[in-house]
């Protein structure tokens, strides 16, 4: 497994995990959309639209033939995330986005930009570095996916620990 293949699996897993976790916390994500002032008439449609885009971006990246479409969807989503942060900062509102479910509530703001920048850099790198996933061992892909999920879980744990330490 090359670094580029790992980054592809990592990005795809993050997108699919984000979509799944949003589906598990629909009410709070609906509220985020309402606070951002989008899909106000029917926030449920907005949830399905964004979750559908994330699922599509993640799944397309596992196929060599169409993975560039997945990267394109990623760029669209990243642009959307940037817009959400810009709107939050401009309106000076406190908006909590449960983008990775209820266990990892994040306040949209400047800190979110770092994570978005990381996703952006990986996406750009994958545009330039072309590598075939077909020739990679299935077990290695599985382990790469599990490591990616563990990274997300560890991030959630770190945030919870820091939040907890702040108030005790």
């Amino acid at each position: 497994m090359t670094l580029f293949i790992f980054m592809r699996v990592f990005l795809a897993t993050i997108m699919i995990a984000a979509a799944c976790l949003k589906l598990l916390s629909i009410p709070s994500f609906k509220r985020t959309l309402l606070q951002l002032g989008i899909f106000v008439r029917n926030p449920f449609i907005g949830v399905l639209f964004i979750v559908g885009l994330e699922f599509a971006a993640g799944i397309l990246m596992f196929w060599d033939a169409v993975h560039r479409w997945g990267l394109l969807l990623n760029m669209i989503l990243i642009a959307g995330y940037c817009w959400a942060v810009w709107r939050t900062v401009r309106s000076k509102m406190t908006i909590t986005c449960n983008c990775f479910g209820d266990l990892m509530p994040n306040q949209l703001g400047r800190k979110t930009v770092y994570r978005i920048a990381l996703l952006f850099l990986i996406t750009i790198a994958l545009y330039w570095g072309d590598a075939s996933i077909k020739s990679t061992d299935g077990f290695e892909i599985l382990i790469a996916m599990l490591i990616s999920i563990a990274v997300i879980a560890f991030t959630a744990l770190s945030k919870s620990f820091i939040d907890y330490k702040k108030i005790v």
Binding site: N98, L103, I143, L146, A153, A156
Partner: protein
């Protein structure tokens, strides 16, 4: 690499993820519990809301973004059910709220839940609550002059507090309603005229 070793590595990662999830869950729940305790300790205490006072807010937003009007000449009055996140007594009240609204259909029944909005939505969905719900954040816990829960206010059609008290079900509400005229009478109908300033709470 043998299948056994591959399986072991995969299972090991699954266990690591599960462990991370459980520890995160414990920290998150501990954080919420400590936040509630601190909110209770630091919450500003509104001067107690007495029988005969006009309720501090006569219009309040519902979770469905509609305005709840507490001045309701069309009803005999309003029953306000106040509950808070993490209260066992309130958990016993939620399943009965729809029945309370049906039993006291001559009154407008409003539920006030003091909890993060995510928790309010969960309760609304879990118990299929049909009454209008007004949500307050935890730091606003004592905004309506009570620190015991679940609590009920019986309001007149003009929004005046007729009776109040802790509740545990329909019977207690019935008692509050039946006793309200008697208690209200003891005040010699001494309802002070309220200025518009008194309608908004000072914290």
């Amino acid at each position: 690499m043998s299948v056994f070793v591959q399986l072991s590595i995969a299972v090991l990662w699954v266990l690591i993820i599960a462990l991370l999830y459980f520890v995160t869950y414990i920290f998150r729940k501990s954080y919420e519990a400590v936040s509630i305790n601190q909110a209770v300790a630091n919450a500003p205490q509104h001067s107690s809301l007495e029988i005969g006072d006009v309720f501090p807010r006569l219009e309040m937003p519902s979770t469905s973004n509609e305005i709840i009007h507490l001045k309701q000449p069309a009803y005999e009055g309003t029953i306000l059910l106040v509950s808070v996140y993490g209260c066992d007594g309130c958990e016993e009240l939620y399943p009965n709220i729809n029945q309370i609204a049906k039993t006291f259909s001559a009154y407008q029944v409003i539920t006030i839940i003091i909890a993060p909005i995510e928790e309010v939505v969960k309760k609304q969905n879990k118990y299929k609550l049909e009454t209008p719900i007004h949500q307050l954040d935890l730091h606003e816990m004592r905004l309506y002059g009570t620190s015991t829960f679940p609590f009920a206010y019986i309001l007149s059609p003009d929004g005046i507090v007729m009776n109040k008290g802790t509740i545990n079900g329909e019977e207690r509400i019935r008692t509050l309603i039946h006793n309200d005229e008697e208690k209200f009478g003891q005040l010699n109908m001494d309802v002070r005229p309220q200025t518009s300033d008194q309608h908004s709470l000072s914290l």
